[in-house]
């Protein structure tokens, strides 16, 4: 309603008086004049006539009014618009093809823009998100290695007092268990310092955010997705209680969908930081800080001011020397990760848009030839060239705006596509929606396109000399085509299409290569199950706190799972999930016997059990794998991979060598390490290389140790099954429950194939190959439609000419050649340009996509395009020779 009111108001300011108002006034004047004339003695009928002759017709008065207040241009444009719409309706085939070509381009570009807007320009819903910094320590030796640091709550409060700081949020996440109904569910809780509400400045959907007065109160705020999942979006959830870890929490708020703090470990629930003390016997809780700077403070200045303060706080940390403080805006990691991807995709859709525009230009030019007669008449009866150009432009804008409407509607779905293909590359917070900026962008785009593709045909067609084209009804016979602007357009279109197709070819080629790359392990039918052990509950934790008890507990669960029907092998590991593209810890240093201590020897330490190799089908190359007893003991033995043996040992006598990992035990309250974990270990076996640094990177040297040597408060099981592993989830849950009824399984059970799909390089390559495949298919379709309709139009135009030629005895092949010549030659020229462009740009593009330039795929693309173009020329050209000469002569 308010929209209508706004439109009415705008309209009122443009044309303040209504039609009736103007007419009524004029009639009253007319009547007064008429009365005067009658008084002067004229008969009534004559007075009426004279009044109208002198003053004018009341019906026409509103036009006079609009003309007087300068709305004439407006009216004429309205007329052009109506004319354009009528022309489109009269020619639906043309309209559909033109609108569709543009809708594709505008839809894809709008989708990409809304993606860029959501991810790079405005990804976070927080107030002053550009001032929120993620502090980390930068090592002087390895400036690319980020090290997060934590602060206590008091330190967060101290930091808040520093001059450049507006506010500081401390947060930490932990696992919680819902304990009041059915199977225990493991959820992720994020503890926030109590200034969370003002720091984020996000209005909750219901209730409120964590507030300062919530300190020490058992309250909880729900994440939108969790609220949807657990409470089915019940709006009356506020005030109810949620039982977690056997404590009751009052639900005080639900956050909106756009709030998904933070990053990949999005919390299901948000809790006051003061509740962190409840952890049994834990050390003083520490928090990751986010620092919001005051407005107009530069990052460099804040860095300089905060570094001494932060390091003052961290003096008890050993690693102060050689480290710097780095403040990084929270958007930066995403810009680094996805900026290039999005730019490349944007380039792809812009190409698509240009091809679409070229298509429309071609169509307009081709159709324009049938309209020359109409335009000639218009200009003969006095339309200026500007008036004709304007009308043609308005028609083009009608097409582009219709295309934009269709495209924007489609972009709503299109924009979700990349997100679903590569979910981990984008911030969880970014919600794709069509907002004012996106709409403004697409309207601007539509106008730009309309002018872009409309201007050339309009200028070209308006240059008609009426004297030449008006008597041209019989000109069909001599219609030797003049200079063809559209042959340039065809060539450009073909060249750009080839570029897109070759890019798609490169992407698909390298993705296929990636898929065929030997992994060194067999991910099929293996699933990873993560399990968090009870450490919140003091009594339960005591029972499994020691290393031996924990091993026994885990082994018991492992055996129970293994005994379930259909389960082939069950293995245990701690953070050893291949392809291991996102290492939790950096590699460890080690010493080998007979060599001096040198820091350069680094290897990835994998904590697994002896079944791990069987479960993942990693082949044993030399020696043996440890047995059950050795696994329980955990010490004195190690297995290495082939990369390790080649790099650090002369591979012939790897067995029997000794190694030692000094930094192995973790200083962590929940970790149980064996006393001998840093002792010398004998290498008893060498296994094959399994990808352990992402799917595309070479395998790094790895040391496999029994997981019992360093045990954490969580563990992962690798389950190899017959058929799809996820179907066994229920029986596995039952097996686990038979050991400990309240032992939860984390929600994220996934197959190892899914783990590969989440790999950054894998998902990027897949994204590129699918999207560029789609783009190039669209571009190919557009280019072929362009060529097809051009040839079809010109054949229809020249039917008479062809008839005469055939009647005079021209061979059919010759006529056919004449019909397709120009389109075919310009397509061929386009191919040549495209090939040249591609060999120049292809290398750059391939570098951007981080994949090898494939000449073979370029050739395949060129062949496909050439074949398509040939068919698109030939099919409509058949009509040139199909019509019997006598009939085509009668055509006029």
């Amino acid at each position: 309603m308010s929209l209508f009111a706004a439109i009415r108001k705008l309209w009122h300011s443009i044309a303040p008086r209504t039609h009736g108002d103007v007419e009524e006034e004029f009639r009253s004047t007319l009547d007064a004049y008429q009365d005067d004339l009658i008084r002067h003695g004229l008969p009534e009928e004559e007075a009426r006539r004279k009044a109208r002759i002198d003053l004018g017709q009341p019906a026409a008065q509103y036009d006079t009014y609009r003309d007087a207040i300068g709305l004439r241009l407006f009216d004429e444009l309205g007329g052009d618009l109506r004319h354009g719409l009528r022309a489109l309706r009269r020619n639906p085939g043309f309209a559909v093809v033109a609108v569709f070509s543009l809708a594709l381009g505008i839809g894809a570009t709008t989708a990409m823009f809304s993606l860029i807007y959501a991810i790079l320009l405005h990804p976070f819903p927080y107030v002053g998100a550009d001032r929120i910094m993620n502090p980390h320590a930068i090592s002087e030796q390895h400036p690319d290695v980020f090290q997060w640091f934590t602060l206590s709550k008091a330190q967060c409060d101290d930091l808040r007092l520093a001059a450049p700081v507006d506010s500081v949020l401390g947060f930490t996440s932990g696992h919680l268990e819902i304990t009041n109904d059915g199977l225990p569910e493991d959820i992720s809780g994020v503890y926030l310092t109590e200034n969370a509400d003002t720091f984020f400045g996000v209005r909750p959907l219901f209730g409120r955010m964590i507030e300062p007065f919530d300190a020490d109160h058992p309250v909880v705020v729900l994440n939108y997705r969790f609220w949807q999942r657990r409470f089915a979006g019940d709006p009356h959830v506020i005030g109810r209680t949620l039982e977690m870890d056997h404590d009751s929490y009052t639900i005080v708020g639900v956050m909106p969908r756009s709030f998904a703090f933070f990053d990949k470990s999005v919390g299901d629930v948000y809790l006051p930081a003061s509740l962190m003390r409840a952890v049994a016997n834990g050390p003083a809780p520490s928090f990751l800080p986010w620092i919001k700077l005051r407005p107009h403070v530069t990052v460099a200045a804040a860095n300089a001011a905060l570094e001494p303060i932060v390091f003052e706080m961290a003096t008890h940390h050993s690693r102060v020397s050689g480290w710097h403080l780095g403040l990084q805006p929270i958007i930066v990691p995403y810009q680094q990760k996805t900026g290039r991807t999005l730019r490349l995709l944007l380039a792809g859709v812009v190409l698509l848009l240009i091809i679409g525009c070229a298509n429309c230009s071609i169509l307009l030019l081709a159709r324009g030839r049938t309209r020359q007669h109409e335009l000639a008449i218009r200009s003969a009866i006095g339309a200026s060239r500007w008036r004709i150009v304007r009308q043609l432009l308005v028609e083009a804008l009608v097409i582009s705006c219709t295309g934009a409407v269709v495209g924007v509607a489609a972009s709503y779905w299109l924009a979700r596509f990349p997100l679903s293909l590569s979910p981990d590359s984008f911030p969880a917070e970014s919600v794709i929606r069509i907002n004012a900026s996106v709409l403004a962008f697409s309207v601007g785009l539509a106008l730009l396109c309309g002018i872009l593709f409309g201007l050339a045909p309009a200028l070209r067609l308006s240059r008609n000399d009426p004297a030449r084209s008006l008597p041209g009804r019989q000109a069909g016979v001599v219609a030797a085509p003049r200079k063809h602007r559209w042959s340039v357009l065809i060539a450009a279109q073909v060249a750009l299409t080839l570029l897109l197709m070759a890019t798609a070819g490169t992407a698909i080629h390298s993705f296929l290569e990636l898929m065929q790359m030997p992994l060194g392990y067999d991910p099929a039918n293996v699933m990873e199950l993560a399990m968090g052990l009870h450490f919140h509950d003091t009594a339960q934790w005591r029972r499994i706190q020691s290393r031996e008890a924990r091993t026994a507990y885990i082994e018991q669960i492992r055996e129970k799972i293994a005994s379930a029907p259909g389960i082939l092998t069950v293995a245990v590991g701690t953070d050893a999930t291949p392809p291991y593209s996102d290492p939790v810890d950096t590699d460890s240093s080690f010493n080998i016997d007979g060599t001096r201590d040198h820091e350069q020897s680094q290897a990835r330490v994998m904590l697994v059990d002896q079944q791990y190799f069987a479960a993942l089908h990693i082949p044993l190359l030399q020696g043996r794998i440890w047995n059950t007893d050795e696994n329980t003991r955990g010490d004195f033995i190690a297995v290495v991979n082939r990369a390790f043996a080649t790099r650090y040992l002369s591979s012939s006598n790897a067995l029997g060598r000794q190694l030692r990992i000094a930094g192995l035990p973790l200083q962590d309250h929940f970790t149980a390490s064996s006393a001998q974990s840093t002792a010398w270990r004998q290498i008893i076996g060498v296994v094959g290389d399994a990808r352990n640094d992402g799917v595309d990177r070479p395998v790094v040297p790895a040391i496999y140790l029994p997981y019992t040597t360093v045990m954490r408060q969580y563990v992962q099981f690798f389950v190899r099954t017959q058929g799809d592993p996820l179907t066994y989830l229920h029986s596995i849950r039952a097996a686990v429950a038979s050991v400990a009824s309240d032992q939860q399984i984390s929600n994220g059970a996934f197959t190892l194939n899914e783990a590969i799909e989440r790999d950054a390089q894998y998902s990027r390559q897949r994204l590129f190959s699918i999207l560029f495949g789609v783009f190039s298919a669209m571009a190919l379709g557009l280019a072929l439609v362009g060529i097809f309709s051009l040839v079809a139009y010109s054949v229809a135009q020249r039917t008479t000419e062809f008839g005469v030629r055939l009647a005079l005895g021209a061979p059919r092949t010759h006529v056919l050649w004449i019909a397709v010549r120009i389109a075919l030659v310009s397509a061929a020229a386009g191919m040549v340009i495209g090939l040249a462009l591609d060999s120049f740009l292809g290398v750059v593009l391939a570098h951007w996509m981080q994949s090898a330039f494939a000449a073979g795929s370029l050739l395949a693309a060129a062949t496909l395009l050439a074949l398509g173009a040939f068919l698109a020329c030939l099919l409509p050209a058949r009509h040139a020779i199909a019509v019997p000469p006598a009939e085509s002569l009668r055509y006029e």
């Binding site: 009524e24 002198d54 004018g56 009014y65």
Partner: protein, 113 residues
């Protein structure tokens, strides 16, 4: 009978402003008043008359309001706005200046040049 005078371009609007400045008038009233003041010597192009009124209203120099005419008909009465008063003053001054200059030139005798 005196000879009718043709109106130079652009002066009609000034005359309408002047007519309305003496009190609110409806369209036909304006027409009559101009003719009356000029001693019936001005032949107003009636077609352009309303165009001028619309333009003046658009500029905000006159303001229209519906009311009752002398013979009980609904009519739209125009009155001068503050901006219109200023405009009329400026236009009249300009006109007087120009007329004086033109008259001065035309009055010159051959010997005086």
């Amino acid at each position: 009978l005196t000879k009718p005078v043709e109106l130079p371009q652009g002066t009609l609007e000034m005359l309408i402003l002047k007519a309305v400045s003496l009190g609110p008038l409806h369209g036909y009233g304006i027409l009559l008043r101009i003719q009356q003041i000029s001693g019936e010597r001005l032949e107003i192009l009636q077609g352009s008359f309303y165009t001028a009124i619309y333009r003046l209203e658009r500029q905000g120099w006159i303001k229209g309001k519906w009311g009752e005419s002398e013979n009980n008909r609904r009519a739209r009465f125009y009155s001068l706005t503050a901006a219109g008063r200023r405009q009329l003053k400026a236009e009249s001054a300009k006109w007087t200046d120009m007329a004086a200059v033109v008259a001065g030139i035309l009055d010159k005798k051959a010997g005086e040049i």
